[in-house]
Symmetry: C2
């Protein structure tokens, strides 16, 4: 019973993922998911409290897929190189899965979504935590507080910037490819920290 329930849940998530990837976030509606999956609208609401919860479940899968890519990275002795590699992988993932990432990013901007679900927030926090480890190697002299702050600002900037990477509006910036956009931000910021904090 729980088995079958999970199967339906998984099937819905898989079909929903397919829909989003192929046609975009606007196509992820209860009825279209119902049609595509073969399950009725009511069944969707049996498995998920509402469509927002469905999207959060989807976003957790997205973050897990990103984590998998991070885990494949072979660590270098240089923290700078590692950070650049992380950003590379991050941007690569976002650009390869624009619609899934849009689905994720949009949730953050919804005025209703006062507080993001715990499970989702936990998964999301894993990304900057990875960066932080390398970050700490470079800025040992900084106080714990200062380091955390600087890292948070960097991550927020990269994360929010990621939304623009998958927006047609960015196509004006033809001079610079999108991977380098983020790496320029990263390295300039790191350089600034190094000089301003005299590390």
């Amino acid at each position: 019973m729980t088995d079958k329930k999970d199967n339906i849940r998984s099937a819905l998530l898989a079909k929903g993922r397919e829909l989003v990837c192929a046609k975009g976030t606007a196509f992820l509606t209860a009825r279209k998911l119902s049609e595509a999956s073969g399950y009725s609208v009511g069944t969707i609401y049996n498995q998920f409290a509402n469509m927002d919860e469905f999207i959060f479940a989807q976003n957790i899968l997205t973050l897990e897929a990103l984590e998998e890519r991070f885990q494949k990275i072979l660590p270098d002795s240089s923290a700078y190189k590692n950070l650049n590699r992380y950003v590379d992988v991050f941007v690569g993932f976002v650009l390869e899965n624009p619609n899934l990432w849009m689905l994720l990013y949009n949730q953050h901007l919804k005025p209703e979504a006062k507080v993001l679900p715990f499970a989702y927030r936990r998964k999301l926090a894993l990304v900057p935590q990875r960066l932080e480890k390398e970050f700490a190697k470079i800025f040992r002299q900084l106080s714990r507080r200062e380091r955390k702050l600087s890292m948070q600002v960097l991550w927020l900037a990269l994360f929010s910037l990621s939304s623009f990477l998958i927006t047609p509006g960015l196509d004006n910036f033809s001079a610079l490819n999108k991977e380098n956009l983020c790496k320029l931000l990263l390295n300039t910021y790191l350089g600034g920290l190094a000089v301003l904090k005299r590390v």
Copy 2:
């Protein structure tokens, strides 16, 4: 006739602005605007091709209000101070008008809105243009191309970060107030450019 038409247009925009400011972007619907303004739904569509166009007209007003604040700034001899002042005013405006800014920012993330209207893009471009003037004073040695690139990255980072300033999700970052979040990004980035480009 054109007079009255403009009056309706202005009245609709004013009421819509009121609605957004008071109740949030979700309350800006054709019917609610119709009720609040006293004009029928059809009249709204007589004045604006669709709700998106209404929102763009609204966003242009928002950018003009921001421009007004910029114009009030007394220029300093230090370009660094001027840039900090601009960011101060920018962040201040965003925080004082969170719902209007949300309305603006959201348009950029809509997958349908392939290309933003020319009039809107022009207004939006005015903001980084202001920053660029001060930016150029500091980084004279940089090539035109390099300067433009660095400036674009900085502005994109600040602009995208602005969306987070008005998101409840950012409340975790209690350590740092939101004004300083952006100024930390600004000054660290400027410091990084200065050292990396040996200016």
